[in-house]
Structure formats: C-alpha cells, structure tokens
Symmetry: C2
Subunit: 148 residues, 2 copies
Amino acid sequence: MPSDVLVSEPVHTQVKGVMLRRLPSVHDLRGMLSFCEIDSHVPFSVRRYFVVSAVAGDASRGAHAHRTLHQFLTCVHGRCHVIADDGESRQEFVLDNPSLGLHVPPLVWSTQYRYSPGAVLLVLASDVYDEADYIRDYDQFLQLARAR
Amino acid sequence: MPSDVLVSEPVHTQVKGVMLRRLPSVHDLRGMLSFCEIDSHVPFSVRRYFVVSAVAGDASRGAHAHRTLHQFLTCVHGRCHVIADDGESRQEFVLDNPSLGLHVPPLVWSTQYRYSPGAVLLVLASDVYDEADYIRDYDQFLQLARAR
C-alpha cells in the first residue's frame, strides 16, 4: 500500500477510474470514529448500501462488473482483499480499516476474497439493485471495457 | 425486542419519532448480505456516515441530542445498546445485527453503551458535521424537547 494513501486526496491506482481514499478518523479514550462526508469523499450520491459479513475465509464474492453502478468499498471490521481489473490492468488492494475506502466505478471487474474471520465489508452504491446492470461474463466484460 | 420488528415496515417505539427498521438480508453459502435502499428504508438523504469502533465495554458514547440532524444507527458487527429519550419517554434498544436499523430524529437524546468486544456501529447522517447542531446539556434538551 503506498504511503501517500495517508493524505486526504484520492489516490489514483493502476486500474482505470479506481481510487483509494483515506477517510478522516478521530481516536480518543472512548474508541475510534471514522467519518465520510459523501459530497467530499464519495464521487456519487448514495442510494443504497449493503453490508457483507460471515464470509468463509476461502470464499470469494463479487466477480462481476457493472454497466453504470459506482461503488465505494470499505472494510469496517477485519480485513479483506479486493482485486480490481479494468480489462487491461489489474491491482489487488487490502482493505483493513474503516478509514480506507476504494471507489470502484462502472466497467471494472471486481472480486473480494481472503476475508478475515469476522470481516465486515460496507459497500455504498450509486443506485438500487438492478440485475440488468450486472456483467457476469468475463469475456463480455472485456469486450465492453475495451470498446469504451 | 418485539417480534414485529421482523416485518419490513418500520416499527414505532415508545420514543417520539424513533423507529426500528428491519432491513432485508440474503444468506447463502458465501455469507450474509444485508442491504438498505435509502429511499425505501431511511427517511432522509444521506450526506455523511461514520463508523464507531474499538470502544471499551465500559465506555459510553453519544449522550447528546441534535437540533435538526437525523441519524440511522445499525450495529454491523457485534452488539451495542442504545438509549433514546424524547424528554418524556425513554427506551433501550439492542442493536446486534446489520439488518436492524434505528432511526433517531432530531430532539431525541441518545446514548450508546455496552459495546461488545469488536462491536462496530455504523451511523448514517442527514448532514455534515456541525457543532452548532449539538445539544450537549440535558436540561437545555428537556426545555427544547418539551417546547416543540
């Protein structure tokens, strides 16, 4: 993980449109509070969120892309790995802190795996669920990603 | 916890304006996914979220009300207790599941405590942070709450 993710500006990655974002946090005797102001830290309006938990360590989730949906991933407990792939470049990220967010835009193939015991992944999404927005076939994804 | 929180309609509580909301969830071999569609499940637009973690079991947080801010609380890992108080009625809630949300409107005094080890509280908020929106004095809160 590059050290410059510690600054508050979004950090470009090797994958087109995928950005890492360090969110502010406050530590005190009562615990830790990480916060995210949508207009400042998330490049879309949040219309849905989902929480993934109780994932077996050898299970993987995701393995699809979206046509139009933006997502913002943060691991709020434990740790998981995310592989993001724009059809040309692929990069692996370790999400292990509520103050580290990953923006995954449309037309990026994303897989989450290596969940630690008790890991909880929070995903903010730019729209409600729509099965028609999913691209579940990798070859079709490559065609669409390379044609953009 | 009344059994009718299992239905998907919001459940009124003894505290004015405070509602419990059962969020949908999907369990399968890969784990559990709980989701929340903002327009359907949360009675405000989300402009901020914060994540509270690493709270000692004997610590309490909150102990204030807001003038205008709406919040939606869900414990996405572990368990915590929330006391909500409208100045006349007070009720304690146990949040122990990502699929259970608690809407706390303005002019409700709220305290969170009894965090289990590793508990993570996710709070959606209707606005960005504004210290002037906080009511930190309980007597002042009572005056404002009873005058509404």
